[in-house]
């Protein structure tokens, strides 16, 4: 199948992306086509994306999109991140995509945004090279959408903190080297002042991976439940200010939502491309199924909705890059994209007929992978509350 299609006209437009960004997209796309797609079925079966691949990505500098040159990054903005997320989403292996995206845009960002110079210098170059992979642990068995409801406790003990609690659904939870963990340092304080982020290294005594979780989709991404049982964390490993964690989490959510939205758009594009190709080829009732207006008009409308959501994302990325406040927009994007990708997958499976229900078809995997997009990283309903507050 062609790697460039009519769906690409906006991705190639200089209105949104300059020459270097278009070149970046080309390189990521080629990487996805040659280094990910031919191999990822095995990773789906193994339940994780291999470190060797992540090191290759590191060698090409894609983990350093947003970090300053002094730390080994390339100092680009949200527009480059959108390209990165979109092209990974377009791989059709969203488990691989999320492994990389959590590392770049949801986990290591905590170290960079809240960390001090020493923490940045220690971890960011290694995160950029792929030598260290990061995870972020906020969600718990008892609290997901309601971040203020977390129960993990961090109690000060001399120059250490003692962590107790559990974390749930943690992406890269099994394989990461460094974890950004949210815990309550002052349960008596106002909820927004009670949370602190900690940098926890793999191997810290008292910190264990309780189990790897078996998922409906994203099967090439490892997801774990973590346990902290009197884990001793040096006080120097606080990320940012004690009690400032909630604010940091909320701040990073802005980028996260844009990234997940862009990832959804890549998924939509790939699904539409491969479904159109399938329908042009598949014959029933004496003609290609693509000749049925009932089918092609439905896909045409979906492609129009995808295009509008995608260009909303491009425009929002450009505004965020210019320093504008876009909380309302990214919340809209997360809600819109997370639902739209599921509608796209539903119809694409439908038009594949019985084949869409078979494990051997790409669309079957993509439909499973897409399901979480309206749940993880801010469920649609929670996003809509954010939008409604700003209406």
């Amino acid at each position: 199948m062609s790697t460039h299609s009519p769906f690409d006209s906006a991705t190639q437009s200089p209105v949104f992306f300059d020459e270097s960004l278009r070149m970046l997209r080309d390189q990521i796309r080629r990487f996805v086509e040659t280094e990910i797609k031919p191999h990822a079925d095995a990773w789906e079966a193994e339940g994780a994306t291999p470190r060797a691949l992540l090191r290759k990505i590191g060698d090409l500098g894609f983990f350093g999109i947003r970090y300053p040159e002094a730390l080994g990054g390339s100092d680009l903005d949200q527009r480059a991140t959108v390209i990165w997320a979109e092209e990974l989403g377009r791989s059709t292996y969203s488990g691989v995509a999320i492994t990389a995206l959590v590392h770049t845009d949801m986990a290591s960002v905590h170290i960079y945004n809240a960390g001090n110079d020493a923490q940045r210098a220690e971890w960011i170059p290694r995160c950029i090279s792929g030598e260290a992979i990061s995870a972020v642990a906020v969600t718990e068995p008892g609290a997901g959408s309601d971040v203020k409801g977390i129960a993990t406790r961090a109690r000060r003990d001399g120059d250490h903190y003692i962590l107790n609690g559990a974390k749930m659904f943690i992406t890269n939870g099994v394989l990461a080297d460094v974890y950004c963990v949210a815990a309550k340092t002052d349960p008596e304080a106002r909820p927004s002042q009670s949370v602190t982020m900690f940098l926890v290294e793999k191997g810290t005594p008292g910190f264990t991976v309780s189990r790897a979780l078996d998922k409906h989709g994203w099967r090439s991404s490892d997801t774990a439940e973590l346990r902290f049982d009197n884990a001793r964390i040096p006080a120097a490993n606080i990320l940012g200010r004690e009690g400032g964690g909630f604010y940091e989490i909320m701040k990073n959510f802005q980028n996260e939502r844009l990234v997940l939205g862009a990832m959804c758009m890549g998924e939509c594009q790939a699904a539409l491309e491969l479904t159109v190709a399938y329908l042009r080829d598949r014959k029933a009732f004496g003609a290609p199924l693509w000749d049925k207006q009932a089918i092609r008009q439905r896909l045409a409308m979906l492609s129009a909705r995808v295009e509008s959501c995608r260009q909303f994302i491009y425009a929002t990325a450009a505004r965020a890059a210019a320093g504008e406040e876009v909380v309302r927009e990214v919340s809209m994007i997360k809600a819109l994209a997370g639902e739209l990708v599921n509608e796209v997958m539903y119809d694409c499976v439908q038009f594949h007929g019985g084949m869409g229900f078979m494990r051997e078809s790409t669309i079957e995997r993509m439909a499973r992978d897409a399901r979480v997009q309206s749940i993880g990283g801010g469920a649609t309903e929670v996003m809509l509350e954010e939008v409604a507050k700003r209406m």
Binding site: L24, Q27, G61
Partner: protein, 252 residues
């Protein structure tokens, strides 16, 4: 030694080509364009020569429309040191013919004095397979075409050529024109830091007129047509049935 690498901006090899309604050529409006894949191999080979200490500087040159500067940036991001854009057309649909390109390249060679010119064996858009050979004739330099292996040793180069029925190894005197084939190497990715560095590398802009070359076409395209559509296949139940079907259509 300085290596000159001519690169062409062509329709991306993944794009499904559409012929223009009037048959005058292929529709290039809003179509993804990339570096000719054989030229990428030439750039890669030049970089490898530099990494092996056999070349000091790599100059990429492109003749065509202004947009070819993107193609040159890609060469710079891969590892070329500087680039020369020779603007010779305004309309993206104008293809500069091999002889005109070779004449311009001959002038560039005169100005730059490279020890080696590495180019793709052909461009995938019109498959002319002529520019390198014409350049060699214009300069009176030796040539090694369809290289699948190359080693440069002082005043000569050893070139393994992919020819019908096998491989031929020849020794050519430097300076030389080498045109590269598919199996010579696998071009590297442009890493993100190198994409950023490429922005700052020098890219000179010239015009065909600067070199006094008349690029007016000498050839007339009579017609461009799509290849015949592939007929639908059928599933056969057995080898016997297959043989019978092939007999029916007179294939055996």
């Amino acid at each position: 030694m300085k290596v000159l690498v001519p690169v062409k901006r062509v329709i991306d090899y993944n794009v499904k080509v559409r012929v223009k309604a009037d048959g005058s050529g292929v529709d290039l409006a809003n179509v993804k364009m990339s570096m000719n894949p054989f030229d990428e191999i030439a750039v890669e080979e030049a970089i490898r020569l530099k990494e092996a200490g056999k070349a000091e500087e790599i100059v990429a040159v492109s003749v065509g429309v202004k947009q070819a500067q993107e193609t040159l940036r890609t060469a710079l991001a891969m590892g070329a040191d500087r680039a020369i854009l020779v603007v010779a057309a305004d309309d993206v649909h104008t293809d500069i013919e091999p002889l005109a390109v070779a004449k311009i390249l001959a002038k560039v060679v005169e100005a730059e004095q490279p020890g080696l010119v590495l180019c793709g064996k052909q461009a995938i858009d019109n498959d002319m397979n002529a520019t390198g050979q014409m350049l060699s004739a214009l300069l009176g330099w030796s040539q090694g075409t369809f290289a699948s292996e190359l080693s440069v040793d002082g005043d000569h180069a050893t070139v393994t050529r992919e020819v019908d029925g096998g491989l031929q190894t020849i020794k050519v005197k430097m300076p030389a024109i080498i045109t590269v084939d598919l199996r010579l190497n696998e071009p590297r990715y442009a890493s993100l830091p190198n994409i950023m560095k490429a922005k700052k590398k020098p890219l000179d802009e010239k015009t065909a007129a600067d070199y006094g070359v008349d690029v007016a076409p000498r050839l007339e395209i009579v017609k461009t047509a799509e290849p015949a559509a592939r007929a639908a296949g059928i599933m056969v139940g057995s080898v016997d049935e297959l043989v019978q079907k092939l007999k029916d259509v007179g294939a055996i």
